[in-house]
């Protein structure tokens, strides 16, 4: 599903070179639910950004569904992200000016689809995360856990095969965190959605099928 070969990511400024990732080889099979762990600054988010095609590696290749994406144009990568990848962020990143329903529809705006279909899909996604009753609310009217559920609904509304979650429970208390983990586990089990989750939380990581550990930008196993 996702294949990273000899990945290196270096951030360069005028004076300093920072190696964020070095010599990373990772294959994520279809239907897997893996977690990426490691101390702050070890390159977890960078790894997730490379998998999500939000950033390009300095060296090495990223393959999604068997095809290397190095030669993809901006437009082709945008289309691939839109179709196959859903993102969940630690700080939710909901658009505060839009209602819950409009927020969830965002990925569908970049597909050929009627307004009625978009709305139907968004309502179904909100139903799955148990927030049908709140669709006309605005993000500021919701609790943190509810906001993250909206973000999950937004991530799954386009039925992507891959979900990339960057510390999805990091800003939530343990009860809300458990709710989110339940939703992710259900998505993985029922829809066979491939999930890669970055986390600091050993307990949450234990619920996934495999743990990848990073230290100073390198894989440790």
């Amino acid at each position: 599903m996702i294949q990273l070969n000899e990945i290196e990511k270096v951030y360069r400024t005028d004076r300093i070179e920072t190696v964020a990732l070095a010599d990373v080889n990772l294959t994520v099979a279809e239907g897997e639910f893996i977690s990426v762990m490691g101390p702050s600054g070890c390159g977890k988010s960078t790894l997730l950004n490379l998998m999500g095609l939000l950033d390009a590696p300095t060296k090495g290749t990223v393959q999604i569904n068997g095809s290397p994406i190095a030669n993809y144009s901006d437009r082709a990568m945008a289309a691939l992200r839109n179709r196959d990848i859903g993102f969940i962020f630690q700080v939710f990143h909901l658009v505060t000016d839009l209602s819950v329903l409009d927020n969830v529809q965002i990925p569908l705006l970049y597909r050929r689809m009627s307004n009625a279909d978009r709305r139907k899909h968004a309502e179904a996604a909100l139903d799955r995360v148990g927030l049908s009753a709140r669709m006309h609310h605005f993000p500021s009217q919701l609790s943190g856990g509810q906001q993250q559920r909206v973000a999950i609904a937004r991530a799954i509304v386009g039925k992507p095969r891959i979900l990339l979650a960057d510390e999805p429970t990091g800003n939530l208390d343990s009860q809300m965190g458990d709710e989110i983990m339940n939703i992710l586990a259900t998505l993985n089990r029922e829809d066979r959605t491939t999930i890669v989750m970055v986390t600091h939380d050993q307990q949450k990581a234990a619920l996934t099928s495999r743990i990848v550990r990073l230290f100073d930008g390198r894989q440790v196993n």
Binding site: D55, A78, F87, V95, D97, L98, D102, Q105, Y110
Partner: protein, 415 residues
Amino acid sequence: MVRHYFVLAVKVLLRRKFFTFISLFGISFTLLVLTVVAAFFDHAFGPGQEEPRQNRTLYAERTLMHGPHSTSGSSGGFKLFDQYARDLPGLERLSLHENGHTVHTYLDGRKISSSLKRTDDEYWRILEFRFVEGTSFGTADVAEARFVAVINVATRDRIFGGQPALGQTFEADGQRFRVIGVVENVSSLRTVPYADIWVPYTTAKTDAFKREITGDWNAMALAKDTASMAAIHEEFNSRLLRVELPDPKEYKALVAPFETRLATFAREMPLTDRKDPESQVWRFVGLLTLLGLLFVLVPAVNLVNINISRIMERASEIGVRKAFGAPARTLVGQFLVENILLTLIGGAVGFVLSIFVLQAITDSGLFTYARFTINLRVFGWGMAFAVLFGLISGVYPAWRMSRLNPVQALKGGSR
């Protein structure tokens, strides 16, 4: 999609009320000035009621004699046009008419001042006046020097108290005329048709003007078609070389081109070389365009700056949209929609304001009989300015925003 953009645009505008107010103020004030200027130009130079055939009419209104030591500018003389312009090729009609000058009528101890213009009969065939009473004077009236007059409604009001004036007589500068026609008032900015009183030129107290090369006369040439206009212009210029100048020691050359109204105006502007009439219109229009662009550019640059900071506040949203597959071009489209919506609102406000301002200028009586209105052409100009403004101030920030790296954008949003 459009509904989504529209809803978001309205929300963003309402959320930052002060920013929106500043932006709208800048846009509407700029558009107000541009629309008022456009209405002025339209009023003075656009095809109007009295000059429907302006597109094939040329005017010789300003002559210039120049020599090694001095230059003298004035209107042309009757002889200049009578002798050299009558049989120009491509000419359908030629009218000679004097500049208007002020005359006085004394009535019950009151002094009434009016602008009187002496014209020929062709004047009434080239121009198109709205008669409310009677008609104009014809060939026989001019040939036999009949003391007849066409007056405008304002003069009828002043001299005859608004009563029907047909057949009545009045005195102007010691001559008594019989009214044979009354026309609607004509704006003083339309210099050729404008006057209060029109009389046959043959009623002048002396005919000394008939021997003058420069003087107080203007010629108006109606070409058979637009293609003939260049020939009229060229031929008259070449005939000017044969004209015997009144003071050959002092002046060596005469410039008296048949040209459009705009060209005449352009030649009179500062910073132009009045001896070379050919290039003035383009220089003038170019200068005006440049000034217009500069005028639009300053608030546009300001708006660009405000837009950039406003957009950067929305870095998180841009990051999310990019992550979920928004192509750069679509994002540019979204921000352009927002900006054009803002400028259209500003344009509408500016437009309504300009209606009031033009009404106030009309009411002030600053320009005699001028009634400034926003017609469809001026409205078109206003809309064009609004869209241009929206594009100028929106494209760059939108493009910059669409180039944001999604990871950076998301980080910017989380700060």
